[in-house]
Symmetry: C2
Subunit: 315 residues, 2 copies
């Protein structure tokens, strides 16, 4: 029974362009308070949970971009969230824009932290798979300038002992790639916390728009099953800065089943009672020690992109 | 239009314990003839398509096992299939038990070949992910002795230029692992042919039996989307040797959608008109050259099984 707990996706509706940090932090604290009423131990907030998703806009000047970044975590403005969490004895995952360093050496990452039930940061992750463009292209109908505004995460895919198990973090586009989940599972991850900001529609690939929800879910469902892990995936939802976001925060079981899901596009707490030991049947089924064949997987690290067939095998 | 073609899953009902090769080959040829009537260029037959799935039985003596193996491909008994394919100008994927070598040096693999429209073998694959046990365990309700009867495939995951595109092969349990698809995609695979023999029920993990079809499909659907590839997956179906098999042969589009599916559990041709160029939108979306981060994936080849967290990252 020590491995049973109630976790939550703390979905956020849109954050307004002039909505100050203290107002956003108050919304997060309200979700923590609701989580306390529902006996949660952990609330997963979205990617970039303190600000609008500004990489949809071209912002030429770094000083104008920097108002979206946190130079300290916690800061005077975010400390009340940590204090509330400690007072309520609830942990959280928080996505935000991280700036570190000074002067010409400032580095900027799309980051998440894992905070335990006494308000202490127990882990940090910096997004590895930054989608979009590294340079502004005025011909695009939808800007996505993450690769311009952030550096690649430099912490790998770390796993932390927390919440009575092993916990990994991913951010948004990471969820579409099979490799991050596997790297987490090879470190024993039982629970993956993941925040995202995904548009409901893509103007440049309209043929895929009917499948946006399916493409959001199916890689996570496969990964949960293939790695025997719980996934709590939390959206920023609703219409933010003119962009409709898909919402659909959810909890996915190690079976791959979606077992809880948001019903709206505003601030909403999606709770689910989970058993970390439910990961075991799937981890046993796949039994990596017996059945994985890493020597046959070398191309996954030896190649970045598509190349010619390695060999024609034996015929 | 050169990249449009009609492909088929050539599903087989059960093969009887005393059903001789010529009888089975006649069933395969009947499916090829039906495929010709439906203008197919390629028929994917199941794993171990010439025999019952004998690894469910404990067979102590190698000489008794060897009646399930092909020492030549084609042999006098299987050559009529190759001749029919050439006469009809249809290619095929065929799964079978392969024995190579002589005397004490015979090696045995769970193998598939890809045969082109003139009856020539253009590629061979030997199953990498052999499930089950390497030794007989009389306490198990369901035997699965593939790891006893076969060696690990030694050809990697090869990709072949064929059928106006790049084609890879997988066999049965391979489909549950994300790595094989990725290794194929990194060689440009656009179409994956896959035969399988999967029980509809697992007596030792009954809690998962309601999810058998979902677990069959979801890794393939995720992989098709994540790698931008078509998958033709073909079952041996029905009750064979006392075991109910799941059937459900299908074609999966690069969108991840199941676009064709068997309706029965007997010999059945499932056809689908596919466009290999439909892979491009997904390959472009994931754009491996720009977005993959192999340096962060190293654990996938550096570790076989689960180990401790690599590092706690920066906190």
């Amino acid at each position: 029974m020590a491995r049973m707990q109630t976790v939550a996706a703390g979905q956020l509706g849109p954050i307004g362009p002039d909505e100050a940090r203290p107002r956003v932090v108050a919304r997060l604290i309200a979700l923590l308070e609701e989580a306390k009423r529902r006996s949660c131990t952990l609330v997963v907030f979205p990617e970039m949970a303190l600000t609008p998703f500004f990489p949809r806009r071209w912002i030429p000047r770094q000083t104008d971009r920097d108002r979206y970044f946190e130079f300290d975590m916690p800061s005077p403005e975010t400390r009340p969230l940590f204090e509330a969490a400690a007072a309520l004895n609830i942990g959280f995952y928080l996505g935000y824009c991280e700036a570190v360093g000074e002067g010409q050496d400032i580095r900027r990452y799309n980051t998440s932290v894992l905070v335990d039930g006494v308000g202490r940061i127990v882990g940090k992750y910096r997004k590895v798979h930054l989608p979009g463009n590294a340079e502004y292209d005025p011909t695009l109908k939808l800007q996505h300038l993450e690769a311009c505004y952030f550096e690649d995460g430099d912490l790998g895919f770390p796993v932390f002992e927390a919440f009575a198990g092993r916990v990994g973090m991913l951010i948004c586009n990471d969820r579409r790639w099979p490799e991050p989940y596997r790297v987490l599972a090879l470190q024993g991850a039982e629970l993956v916390c993941l925040g995202y900001n995904s548009p409901a529609f893509l103007p440049d690939t309209p043929e895929q728009n009917g499948l946006r929800t399916f493409h959001h879910l199916v890689p996570m469902q496969a990964a949960a099953y293939q790695n025997g892990m719980w996934i709590v995936a939390t959206a920023k939802a609703g219409r933010e800065d003119g962009c409709d976001m898909m919402g659909q925060s959810c909890v996915i079981a190690p079976s791959g089943e979606v077992v809880a899901r948001a019903t709206g596009v505003g601030d909403e707490l999606v709770t689910c009672r989970i058993d970390l030991d439910a990961t075991k049947a799937y981890k046993r089924f796949f039994d990596f020690d017996t059945y994985r064949r890493p020597q046959a997987y070398r191309l996954i690290v030896d190649r970045q992109g598509v190349g010619p067939p390695l060999s024609r095998g034996e015929t």
